[in-house]
Amino acid sequence: MGALTARFGAGLTGFFVLLVGFWLAGLVLAPNLMMIDFALRPNLLPADVGGPLDVYSLDNLAYLANEPVHRDIFLKTVWASALVMLATFVVCYPLAYWLAQTASPSAASLVMLALIIPFWINEVLRTLAWYILFAFRGPLNALLLNLGILDEPMRWYGDGGVLVGMVYAYILFMLFPIYNSIESLEKAQVEAARDLGASTWRIHTRIVIPHAKAGIATGCVFTFMLAAGSYVAPALLGAPGSRWFTQIIYNWFFEGGDWNRGAAYALVLLVLCLAVVLLTLRLFRVSLTDVAK
């Protein structure tokens, strides 16, 4: 604080502090507190708000716990998001290693460009592209039929379609943190391990992954949170059998007209994501400041 005042003067420093304060209190804290407030109140007619019926209770949360369809969709969202995280890691780790350690500079920049260009388009349109590819009479089925791999067209929408769509949508959030951390690994370390007789598997488990674990943890946290909070991919690529928890929340707000229950569901999702972040960091023995880097 003293350093800030010395650098920018009292006026400007006060302005900065005010801005940060507004951002924290007005844009982060207040909406979340309002959501908690909503979540704990019953859904009432406008006339009853503030009346004797408007008391705090855990009814909305209890409703989720006792409603088997919603509960199952919630649990399914949790493990499916974990699966998306795992699949994205499996795709990204070898790619990140190749980009950071073995690729020639020109090949690396070319592949990097090819990965980034699709992200210039908005997420809805990118998911729509998969929607077209996966269509029953779409290009993927046509190709597989022509190659003789399939005898009749497949229905791709559903769990598989959602998984593919999400892995694709979040690939860069996993790739870049891992790439950054592997790039800082000295090449001679990998060579030394190989020279001492280590197999490729051992080089990765003992040298590369421990070195890159902050980046891996960051990528996993990002991907999990994005997947759990995703709406577009399940809405477009899902089927009735593969509904996502975010869709239920959406329905409470915009179709059920019950903002209180919607807020309660959203709160549960938020708490879940926080828990996953903290658990992952604990698991990888990484501190929050490492991730912020």
Binding site: E191, A193, A198
Partner: protein
């Protein structure tokens, strides 16, 4: 087993450039063998081909008479000490040392025991549980040696491992490396651009320039009997005097030079009438008696006192620098800057080598 390492006509081309050009030599078991050359001479490329990180474009690498073609670095009986050392910073010291044993599936208790033994060898007992970051430069150096020795290699490959250390520590580590080599009997193949390092530690030295092997010899032979002009200039200080061979008799060549007729041992490429260069070491020069028949005339520029000897910098009439090292005991009679001086030397202490076309 006849040779520890044998290189047979190795060539390594990167595109159109040959980093290593038709190099052959052998290293004997238990030998401390150095490859000496300026940066970019191909010495590191050779080391990486022996280690298995690179495959030669042509030629064969044999270790213990076994052809290493097609074997990766993890399948060769070699261990390398990297210039950066490449210790694993996330593992404690003992796991670093035992990493090669871990890769070979040795049980943990046995690995720990071997690591402790090696810590004794490198005089760091009780350091097993330290972190790498807690070690000093010299200690890291020794841990890197122990880690390489743990896999009991037939050949230890060292890529300028002392270059990051300060002078005092470097000199200390030279002696230590030499001692460890004698104790373990492992063949050392050592890469360096520092000639004093190569001369002080090695049984034999290979000198390389621009991918070509210049000479393989014991350090004293390199110094006293260089086979090529490059070796004469690169190994130690020397004075080079260009001339033409007047005649050769009994292994002594007489050259006509700007200083008149000078005599030296006749080396490679010295034939009557050919251009040749005479090389004489600074310490072989002495102040000439007034009536000396042949001598180098020069004007003294300055005298650098270095303790045991003084370095007399002078310039000949044709502008060529002349360097003489005079023992401190003889400095009382040394000429002052600005004076003319005549240096003499015994023909046995100088060598004449034929000048290849294009060379000065």
């Amino acid at each position: 087993m006849s040779h520890s390492v044998a290189l047979e006509r190795i060539t390594m081309a990167f595109g159109a450039t040959k980093a290593v050009d038709d190099v052959s030599f052998t290293v004997e078991p238990g030998e401390f063998f150095s490859i000496l050359g300026p940066s970019g001479c191909g010495k590191t490329t050779i080391l990486r081909m022996v280690a298995g990180f690179l495959a030669p474009s042509m030629g064969r690498v044999l270790i213990g008479d076994r052809d290493m073609g097609g074997l990766g670095p993890n399948q060769r009986p070699t261990a390398m000490i990297f210039q950066s050392l490449a210790l694993f910073p996330l593992m404690p010291v003992w796991e670093n040392i035992a990493f090669g044993l871990e890769a070979r599936g040795v049980p943990k208790a046995e690995r720990r025991r071997r690591a402790e033994e090696l810590l004794e060898l490198i005089a760091l007992p009780g350091y097993g549980d330290r972190k790498i970051a807690e070690l000093s430069g010299g200690q890291k150096q020794r841990v890197a040696i122990a880690r390489a020795l743990a896999v009991e290699p037939q050949v230890l490959l060292l890529d300028e491992p002392l270059s990051a250390l300060d002078l005092k520590l470097r000199q200390h580590m030279r002696a230590e490396l030499r001692a460890i080599q004698k104790r373990t009997g492992v063949t050392f193949l050592y890469i360096t651009h520092d000639q004093s390092e190569a001369l002080a530690m090695s049984d034999r030295v290979a000198v390389m320039s621009a991918g070509v092997l210049q000479q393989v010899a014991a350090p004293r032979t390199l110094y006293e009997d260089p086979a090529t002009p490059f070796v004469a200039r690169f190994v130690g200080e020397t004075n080079a005097i260009a001339g033409r061979v007047a005649h050769v008799a009994d292994g002594i060549a007489a050259l006509d030079t700007a200083h008149g007729r000078l005599s030296a041992r006749a080396g490679a490429g010295v034939e009557q009438g050919c251009p040749a260069t005479l090389y004489v070491r600074p310490e072989a020069l002495g102040i000439a008696a007034a009536d000396a028949p042949s001598a180098l005339g020069a004007r003294v520029e300055r005298l650098d006192f270095e303790g045991a000897f003084g370095l007399l910098h002078a310039v000949a009439a044709d502008g060529a620098p002349v360097l003489a090292a005079l023992p401190s005991t003889a400095l009382g009679a040394a000429p002052a800057p600005g004076e003319d001086v005549r240096f003499a030397f015994a023909p046995r202490d100088a060598v004449a080598l034929g000048t290849a076309p294009g060379e000065a």
